[in-house]
Structures are given as C-alpha cells and as structure tokens.
Amino acid sequence: MSRTRSLRQVFGRIHTAWRRWLAPIPTTHAATLFLLACVVFASYWRLDVFIVDTVAVANALANVADGTLQLSTVYYGPPDAQTPGVYAHDGRLYGRNYGHVFAALPILLALRAVALVAEPAILLAGLWSLGIVVVGRRLATAFDTGLVAPTAAMLGGFLFVLNVVGGAAIAPRMFPLVALQLVTLLAAGGLVATAYLLASLFHGHRVGIATAVATMLLGPVGFWATIPKRHLITAFLVLLACYCFARSRVSGRLFDRALAYVPVGLTAWVSAPEGFLLLVVLGTVDFVTADRRDLRALLAIGGVLFVSLLPFFVTNLLISGNPLQPPRLLTSYRGGGATVTSQPTVAPSNPAEPIGGADPPPQNGDTGGQTGGGSDGTGGDGGATDTPAPTDEASTDGTPSTNPIGSVIATLAATLTALLDRVLSQFERGIEALDPQRLYHVFVRSGRIPGVDYTQTGGETIELTLLETAPLLAALVAAPGYYLRRWLTQRRLRVRLPSVSTLRTDPARATDLFAVVFVVVFSLVYLPRLPVHGTVTVRYLIPTVPLLVYGVARLAPVQAVVTEATDTLARATLLAFGLGLALLVAIGPVFQPSVGAVMQAHAVVNLATGGLVAGWLLVRPDDTRLGAVALACATAAAALFVFATGFEYFADGRRYVFAAARLIEMGIQAVA
C-alpha cells in the first residue's frame, strides 16, 4: 500500500515537473509550425528508396517486425542482402540505425493493423487533408482573417477527393518504407518546431517563426524531409538538446539541464558516432557554463544520460554482445557468400558496390575479423562461423580469459578506447583536411568537383554545396565583416570576448557556444569524407544546419528585419518565389537542360542570393527594407530548389504517396 503511494508520489512529481517545464513553452505556435512543416513535406512524399543504404534499414525494420534483430529474411534489394549498411557478426547479418528502426516499428504495426480493415493510403491522404484544414484554422486565428480557414477546408476536401480518385493502394511490402519515411517526416516537423522554440526563447515569436520557416524551406531540410536517412533525425535531436540546454540556462533548473541529455542516448541509438559527438560537445559546454557541478547535479545528469542510453546499450548487447559496440563498428558486409564446409570451396566472384548513390563505405578500420553471411541469401544459420582467431599477424598461443567480469570490463574498455581513438583520429584527419579547395567545394561552389565519382549519379553534377542549397547562411559568412564594420564605425577600441562568467550568466551566449562548438566539431569529423557523391546538399552536415540558421537569427540586423519589416519580408518572399517559379517554367523547355545542369543553375542563383544577403550585411545592415528583400530572395531561392527537386527534377518514374503531387508535376510539365 505504502509502496503504491510512494510510486504515485514519484509519478506525481514527474508529472508536475513536466507540466512546469511545459508551461512556459509556446506550444500553440510550435504545434502549428510542426503541422505546417509536415503538411508541406508530405506534399512531395515519394515512396521509394532514394539512397541505396536505406535498403539495409528497411530490411532491418521488416525483420524487427518479425521479431528478430538480424536480417533473417531479405525483403528488399539483392537476395544476399549485399547492400551498404549491412554488417556481419558471428555469421549473422544486421542493419544499422536501430533507433530509427524502433521508432518506425509502432507505425509499421499500426499500418498493418489498419490494413486489416481499411486502406492505409486513403487514411494517409485523409490525415494530410485534415492537417491542411487544421493549419488553415490556426493561421486564421493567428492572423485574425476569416478567409484562410474556409479556403483551407475546401482545399483539404478537394485534395482528399483528388487523392482518393487518382490514388492507389499501398502494397503491404512497402509498409516498412512508409513507416521509416514517416519517422523522418515527423522528425523534420519536430526540427522546424524546435527551431521556433529555440529562437523565440531569446528573441520573441516573430524571430522564432521566421527562423522556423527559414529552416523548413532550406534545401538540406526540405530535400531530405521524406527520405528515410538518419541525418534529419539526428539534426532534430541535436537541436532538441540545444533547446533543452538553452532552457536550462534560462530557468536555472537542474531538471531542464538533465533533460538536455535525453537526446544524446536517442541520437546514439540512431547513429553512435553522432551521439558520441553530441555527448562530448554538450558535456563540455554544459560543464564549462554550468553554475553548479556538485555531486547531486552530476548524478542527476548521469542518471538521465544512462537511462537515455539504455535502448542503445541493449540493442548493441543483443547484436554484438558488447553494449558499447554498435553495428557501425562491426565489419561491413560486402557479400562473398562464404560457407563453412568440410571441403575447400570457391567463393563466387564478388562485384562490390552493387548500385550507385550509396553512402561511401565507412572507415571501419576493422579488418581483423571475418565477415560472413548465408549463401542462401538469408544471412542466417548457413552463414560463416566467426571463431575468433587467437592472433592476427603472428603465430602465438591463445590464452582464453577465465574471469568473465574481467573479460567484460576489458572488452568495454577496449571498445571505449577504440571509439575514442577513432574519433580522435577523425579529428586529426579533419584538421588535415582543412585545405582551401576542399572547403570551397563543400561550403561555397560545387560545379564539377574534382574527386567526386559522378558515375554514381549517371554523370549528373547534382552534388551541391551548403551555401548553394542554404543561401541564407551567407549571413554568417558576412557576420565577421559586419561586426568589424560596426566596431570600426562605433570606434570602440576594446574587443570584448565573452568571459566564462558571462557564459554562465548569459543563456544566449552559452547557447551560442554550444552551437559554435558543435558545428566546428561535427564539420571537422565529416570533412575528410567530403565532398562525395550522393550527398546532394552535403547531407552529412545536416545536423549543423539548424544551428547555423539559429546563428543567422542571432544577428541583430536580421532580427531588425524580421520585427520591423515583417510584411515586406513575407510579401517579397512570396513574390520572389512566384517569379522564380514562372522563370523556371518558362526557361525549362527552351534549354531542356539535364538534371545536373538545372541543379547547377539553382546553385548559381542561390549563391547570387546569398551574395545579396552578405552584401546587405556588409554594406547597409541598417536598411531593413533592403535586408527584407535580400533575405526574401535567399529564402525564396532555397524554397524554389526544394519545390523543383520535390516535384520535378527527381520525379521521373517515382511514385508519390499522394496523387495530387503527380498532378502538380504534370501541371508543371504541361505549362512548360
């Protein structure tokens, strides 16, 4: 009885703390932006595998739904499961990104349950239409206008009819893909809402909403919103950690501070290296800027971190037997069809890298083990046994450990050391990779990038840089010049860098520090692998993009534009988008360019708008009207890129989830 009461008290306290935490959050605007983003992203949702690595994750989900972590049955791709992102351990094959897989599992089960009595395609179309109606209603309330709500209601109803009449059922074999895509889409929506929460925390609703809309329309976010890759999910979790961290500095509560560590474990579950990076950055910045570092605080943070990491540990334990060894640290499986027989057998010749557009092979550094897999294509019991050899390079006698606890500790320590060693070596490689040409082709201008394998994309130059797909970020390039100019014009002789005490007392500065350190560390780790084919918008750096947009929102001239010239900014954005679309439709049929050529055209236009933003900040930062036009052009150019890639350039032969999207695509072609 007393135990029940104490349990109630514990849950009651958690509930109260949660409500207290939630109370100051402007959930209405956040929910509207979340819904708006989901509705926008879903409008060009395509049901297929865009990057071949997804095949491994989809196979993993289908198998998890069957009750097994290993790839016992191959549902997608080649029958021997030989696709990037498959790993081998003890003769069994596994996928990766199990955090993504388990997040999609309830959706998959729900889809299967719905399919027993109803048609999921129609329910999805209905949800999309209802989303449009709700967004219209909320916008009507926000802008106090009577026209928006009925228009949205009519549009929602019309689109539903259109999608039902022009649509088709979704085959049950596609449900795992739908589920994975829905998780990415929801994460993208969450990312937009969190961008609003973070920016509005320091600069009010208008700046928050502008930041969220800008985040939504940028190429690295909009392009990948329905493509089931890990990047947007980890980007959302990183931004969530940043927001929780910022809130903890505003409120000064330990509860808020501990909550910032929840996304760490979830990120690790999706991508262990990125979770590790988040932990290193968050832990360091938190420690430096915290007002208390007593045992109670550390225990609370450690406890929350441990609990958040539990799913990651358990998954690893079940797969590799080592809670710290995620699938990504196992040996990459590239086929081979090895079997254990009593007679020597000849393995089949193996064409590696079966299809294009894949992630480049990971740098495992793990060449000491054996890979194996079922030659029957199941990767199951018929696979190669992986008896650990006692030695690698020399003949020695093996001495198996007799102390199991010591063995476990030694294994964990060895894994942790290997992980640290790997990350440190990545940093080292990142610093070595800081050559101007590489930086130029990753961040500024793509063109035909030397070293990128364009055969993987049919010879098309579709790999763009960060600024070419997110031209708004040019404001950050110009920021040092802006501050220098302000310093010179205001004749302030002393440059004051924020001290540690400032970082402890100023929540915005502390959050800035987190953003800067994360962006630098994350970029350095991925820089040696860039530029590379199949990234389109430098997708490896997507987790840094929302933080960079937050950086843009932190600039005083940008805030002035958003708060003082809101109408001009909104109208100019719509006008620029409309003009851009008209130009695109008019020019397209004249030149009939290839996908690579139009992508490069977008790149150049986006860079030009980025130049406009940078020029405004450097020359006339106090002119809010000019600023509004510059920011509007950059936002519209990015949005046009997302629109055109979503509905036209990569649409050929693909199946949209909603028939209305196909109609838009056909409409563009008809007008053109």
Partner: protein, 151 residues
C-alpha cells in the same frame, strides 16, 4: 463551424478508407502499379547508373593443402582486380590455438594474380580464411576447414 468541418472530413476519411479496405470486397480500390518494382530508383531512374566495381576477385583454383614434417601448408592463388583503392589480401591458416597469416597488397587499378602459402606447425582441424580488405570494407574471398592427421 470549423470543428464541424473537421469532424465531417474525419468521418468521410474513415468511411472511405473502410470502404476501400478488405472488408468491402465489392469495392476494389486500384492496387499499387509499382508494387513489384524495385524500390531503389536512383537519382533519375535506374537508367544511366552503371555498376561501379571497386573490386572483383576470383580464386584461381582450389587451395592445395600439403602436410610435411608435422606442418601444414595451404597454397592459395587469387586473381584480384582493384578499383579506386588498393586491396590488402590476408591468408590466415588457424586451428583453435594457433594461427599464421600471410599478406599481400594489390595497388589501385590493377589486375594481379597472387599466390601465398601460409604454413602452420599444427595438425587436426584447420581453417583457411582468405579475406580482401579495401576502403574500410572486408570481403571473404575463401573460407574452408579441413582435417589433417599427424601421419
């Protein structure tokens, strides 16, 4: 008004989904025309996307296992064609307690036939494992077990 519109739409959605579902066989909603297509469609459809063979290999012949003076040798010949990266070949012969390794490296963009003969002073059940490592990935080229008696 808005709530009624939303409720009405929700009811219509659920009703339409139920009618199109398996419980009402009289209404056959169109099946997915791409249901059996390959899920991977690449950047512009499958056309134009060529296989990029980073590595191909072929065991030239079955390994020749010989026993002499209590030692086992496994002569293994492999032909390797490398892509953009060099390949490290590893010929490992082992039993439960001992192992020996012979290695070879094939530079990028070459075709070579490599023979190695790992030798192990052991008898009983032995395993020959040949792997090729390139660009962070490991391929099992050959794996076999065999029994060697003391005689």
């Amino acid at each position: 008004m808005d709530t009624r519109v939303m409720s009405g739409l929700a009811v219509v959605v659920v009703a339409t989904a139920l009618v199109a579902g398996p419980l009402v066989p009289a209404v056959s909603y169109p099946t997915d025309p791409t249901a059996n297509d390959a899920v991977y469609s690449g950047f512009g459809g499958n056309a134009g996307l060529e296989l990029d063979r980073q590595l191909s290999y072929q065991l030239a012949d079955e390994p020749t296992v010989t026993v002499a003076d209590g030692a086992v040798t496994a002569r293994t010949t492999i032909t390797v064609q490398t892509g953009a990266d060099p390949v490290a070949l590893r010929y490992q012969l082992r039993n439960d307690t001992r192992s020996t390794v012979a290695t070879a490296t094939v530079p990028a963009g070459e075709v070579r036939t490599i023979t190695r003969t790992p030798r192990l002073d052991a008898t009983g059940q032995l395993t020959l494992n040949v792997t090729a490592a390139t660009d962070g990935s490991l391929f099992v080229v050959h794996q076999s077990t065999f029994n060697v008696s003391d005689a």
